[in-house]
Subunit: 385 residues, 2 copies
């Protein structure tokens, strides 16, 4: 396998982009990544998107996007694993370059979520759960994560304040990110007293509905040394795993097994341990998710994610900064774009160009992107070259 | 890159499978492929599906399918390129094995199309066209292909009878395929006099709405020699290309440029010419499509596809048998499954186990799978080992 590097990144300003179409925001981000890399062509393309069919009535997505980017007739594939679609697209691009099939690969993620009316977005997102056994019976994602939160609180004594602190920390980071959808600072009291969604989770425990895209340019590491305009970043591992899609099929609601397995595979491939990771972007779709994920990635012991968050360990300036971009919570969560945007943040950090949210001496970064209630997870580890 | 072989194939009986769910038909086919290969585990999985979101309200599909197959926590990805989703899944599996990331890979395609009511299927399929410029203005796929047919008739003198003969030939082949949805023989008169859909195309010029799945087991060619129960088949090339998604953006309606480019790439990679191909499965979603495709693959000169079909050249026993399985027309067209089922047919033919529809001395076979009105195409070339 060839070694693979990232030589360009691009991301548009995320939010409720009423005036732009899905194809517009993707092309905007793709052109930023191409400009950042300084390449004059692309050999193939991967687009991560969860459900453009339900959100905007458009499938055949990679063909549409390569057409509107003016990149046809390149090979193009759309990949989907619910909210982990972006991370999966990064993995496909990585494998394509590693295999020798393609040299310069565009990896993008996109979702246009605000073009549906009524409960259309809630329905579209619910298709990440088991349609026949979960959705049919009325459960939605805040409900599923609330079950995990209650379980974690009961088993480990995790508190309501610890959950809220995840949101407070991530908004503190997002306040420093000009591309974030909700860059406002918030307090623990504001989180706890905001509108109840699914007890114990209030609306400020939940990631928002967002329109957005993010793109990368990958190429072989050898080529990166020659052509890259900016310091290239090597992808030293890609781990992917699945779990039961339905929450009720699991023996323990407090462990995300797909994340555990994907991380194990990635650590083994990169030959590193959790201690070697300088910073990480993780899938904080709900506050409880970040607490469970930092445990399942091995950054803290199982059950101690809430305490660690409250201690400041995961804050900017802490021992293990998590979600310096603002995370899904503050930056926004256009589901198919999220996994790619996580990599964009790590690349900026490893290049040392993150300004007020820069992690000092960042050498190795990790991303963890997750589908549904944890039925799939993709972990990548990146290193400055 | 490692050489890649197919060591197992499986496909269920296609049709209107009211009593079965999407997950059931996928698992049924996957178990047949696993049994055929004789493997005791799978390292990763790719599932091609166009729009399970619109057809059955289920995304996060690869996670669901690996779960129901009992194969979790393996890495699993769903890939989509409209009706070329299956072919694209084969390509992703090929690249995964070629790269060295995975050894034993399950590639599947699936679509459950009959669970929607009213014009739900027509709407779901329309999302393969350009939503903003084509679908919004009311065009559907029979209309788009009717425009191509009229253009081809005007430019090259292709006749109504020649179009009909594609359907007649493919139903003749499907009559010999016990897994085909519509194995009935039909006549040119029956095709021409059947219900008009979009002039000049009648309902017997159109592929049907189908529930179905098909699966393959891939592994490195070296390993195949050691572990395969049946004669392995090598994938000697994978070509993928895109074109403008909207028909109106093209300068000529009689050429499918994505197919031309994908085939060029595949012939180059395999170091073969169209003359070396013993048989092919091509994307006859409408009769006119097969006529254009056999031209664009270089089997006949541009404009002579209709005449060649009428001459018997593409029939079983002809110089270049096309769609010995019955094609999309007679076998059925569960959109995401089609590209994988094409490979299943070629593997059976190269193993010499196709019974009454066996092509004598078949050594090299080709598959051509296409998305939408030709906005994407995937071509694979396979050779008996």
């Amino acid at each position: 396998m060839r070694e693979v590097a990232i030589i360009g990144v691009g991301m548009n300003k995320w939010g409720e982009l009423w005036e732009k179409s899905l194809r517009d925001i993707f092309v905007e981000s793709a052109l930023l990544a191409i400009e950042d890399a300084g390449v004059d062509h692309i050999d193939s393309m991967y687009a991560g998107c969860m459900t453009s069919g339900l959100f905007v009535g458009q499938e055949h997505l990679a063909s549409l996007l390569s057409d509107y980017l003016g990149a046809g007739p390149i090979p193009a594939a759309r990949v989907e694993s619910a909210c982990a679609s972006g991370g999966l697209a990064v993995r496909m691009g990585f494998i394509d370059v590693a295999s020798g099939m393609s040299d310069i690969v565009l990896v993008g993620g996109v979702e246009k979520m605000t073009d549906v009316s009524g409960d259309g977005a809630t329905y579209a997102l619910s298709t990440a759960a088991d349609q026949e056994y979960e959705v049919y019976n009325g459960i939605t994602f805040p409900g599923l994560y609330a079950l995990m939160a209650r379980s974690h609180m009961q088993k480990f004594g995790t508190t309501r304040e610890q959950l809220a602190q995840v949101a407070v920390k991530n908004h503190e980071n997002g306040f420093k990110n000009p591309l974030a959808q909700y860059p406002q600072k918030i307090t623990i009291e504001e989180v706890i007293n905001s509108i109840m969604v699914a007890d114990p989770l209030t609306i400020l425990d939940c990631s928002p509905i967002t329109d957005g895209a993010a793109c990368l340019i990958l190429c072989p590491a050898d080529m990166a040394k020659k052509i890259s305009k900016k310091p290239p970043v090597k992808i030293i591992a890609s781990g992917n795993a699945t779990d039961t899609i339905a929450l009720h099929s699991r023996s323990d609601f407090t462990i995300l097994n797909a994340t555990v397995k994907a991380a194990e595979r990635a650590y083994k491939m990169a030959n590193v341990t959790p201690e070697n990771i300088d910073l990480a972007e993780v899938h904080d779709c709900f506050t409880i998710a970040e607490i469970m994920i930092i445990e399942d990635l091995g950054f803290v012991k199982k059950g101690e994610g809430g305490k660690a968050t409250m201690s400041g360990m995961t804050a900017l300036g802490g021992k293990k900064p998590i979600n310096t971009s603002g995370g899904l919570k503050s930056k926004g969560h256009p589901v198919g774009a999220t996994g790619v945007a996580q990599v964009v943040e790590i690349v900026h950090q490893l290049r040392g160009e993150s300004g007020p949210r820069q992690v000092k001496n960042a050498k190795i970064g990790l991303t963890q992107n997750m589908g549904g209630s944890g039925g799939s997870a993709v972990v990548h580890i990146m290193q400055a070259m």
